[in-house]
Symmetry: C2
Subunit: 236 residues, 2 copies
């Protein structure tokens, strides 16, 4: 099985729930099978989620071509029959894994954004997210968007398309925040939303890349400080 647990909980419904080290997802052991603890879910759907959760980091680290079906069966403890019973092919697993990786980040950022009241706080919410979660991102193999984009640009059009839309939606979100700020008078009128969004994304992605490649967190942290300064410079 090869699963590392960090917590065990008792429930009256399903007995013991094992929390996995990675991502803190609730799994439980029922008879001899592992499930993700979501009631009302079909078994196949739970197995699907299990496969995705167990392989998401592998795809993020090794890339599509570098991840084999043997990696997938090894990480899940399932056989090829189970994998192909739930996914059409390796392609489908990879796409689902990317969606999972991206979704985890998106969800957490979104939560942080909802508490933000103005432009400054919204932009700062991103910075705070990366300040808090960069160790997890590093463990997970780096930014899924960067990885998927540079992994698939030539070889895997479907995955590249997913990565491209993910990046676009992040960029559009930043642009919207700044445009809204321009309308509300919370952002200095000479700021160009697109250019700022590109600098914003570059400082984050570049910081992750340099930090991961040189094996030190400092470049990312210093980039995030720079980003804070730049945010303060454009808001009123």
């Amino acid at each position: 099985m090869n699963i590392l647990m960090i917590a065990i909980k008792q429930t009256h419904l399903f007995g013991t729930i094992f929390f996995l080290e990675q991502r803190n997802l609730p799994y439980f052991c029922f008879y001899t099978n592992w499930y993700i603890f979501v009631r009302g879910m079909k078994k196949s759907e739970r197995t699907k989620q299990f496969i995705i959760a167990q392989t998401a980091a592998i795809f993020n680290k090794k890339g599509f071509a570098g991840t084999s079906m043997a990696d997938i069966t090894g990480a899940t403890g399932l056989t090829k029959g189970a994998i192909y019973g739930n996914f059409a092919n390796k392609d489908a697993v990879a796409l689902a894994a990317f969606a999972f990786n991206y979704g985890q980040i998106r969800k957490t950022v979104h939560t942080g954004l909802q508490q933000a009241k103005n432009t400054r706080e919204k932009l700062m919410a991103y910075v705070s997210f990366y300040k808090e979660y960069y160790p997890t991102i590093f463990e997970w193999g780096g930014c899924p968007i960067l990885n998927a984009a540079s992994d698939s640009d030539d070889a895997h059009p479907a995955l590249f398309e997913k990565a491209s839309s993910a990046l676009e939606s992040w960029r559009n979100n930043l642009i919207s925040i700044i445009e809204e700020g321009l309308d509300n008078g919370q952002v200095k009128p000479d700021v160009e939303p697109e250019a700022f969004a590109d600098v914003f994304i570059s400082l984050v992605e570049g910081g992750i890349l340099i930090a991961k490649t040189l094996g030190t967190e400092k470049p990312l942290l210093s980039n995030l400080e720079q980003l804070k300064t730049q945010i303060e410079q454009i808001v009123i």
Copy 2:
């Protein structure tokens, strides 16, 4: 052979020289064999260079795991016997290909740097390089450092080490330029060399990533303009 030519030259020494479309490297056809036009080179060394030149872009685009021996023989028109006669294994070809890709960029940047007289011109030389050569870099599959780093971080330690040193040497070069400027009074005294170098690299790499992923050059060009502004802000 699958080689696209853009120019043909006559020489009295070796007959016809065919300039390849990619990288403008001089190859020539002698009898039935192709060579890189470097006199005094052993045949094996020329074949080695030929293999490297023909596969460099493929490795940059497809990554190590995504590039097969069949890709290599297909791109060169040589058989596996020839490849393994000149390289120990696929690993060795990949490492040489990365060194080639990185070397091409390094060489061109270095040429631009030699004409620069002060800190501003030195930093601007980098910007000019990317402004001039970004179409070539895109055709070539993006920045080799970013590609190699994100491709090999988990799967291929030897290649990752190469990518890591390449990034480090780029970063150190930027830091040296700024430190020199601080000593000469050409840079404002409150500038932190490392932090500036990280922002510098991030704007370039991030710009390439966004541009390539979204399929438009604008983000890179706008980042380079931002970089120019930031350079002007730190020099005296």
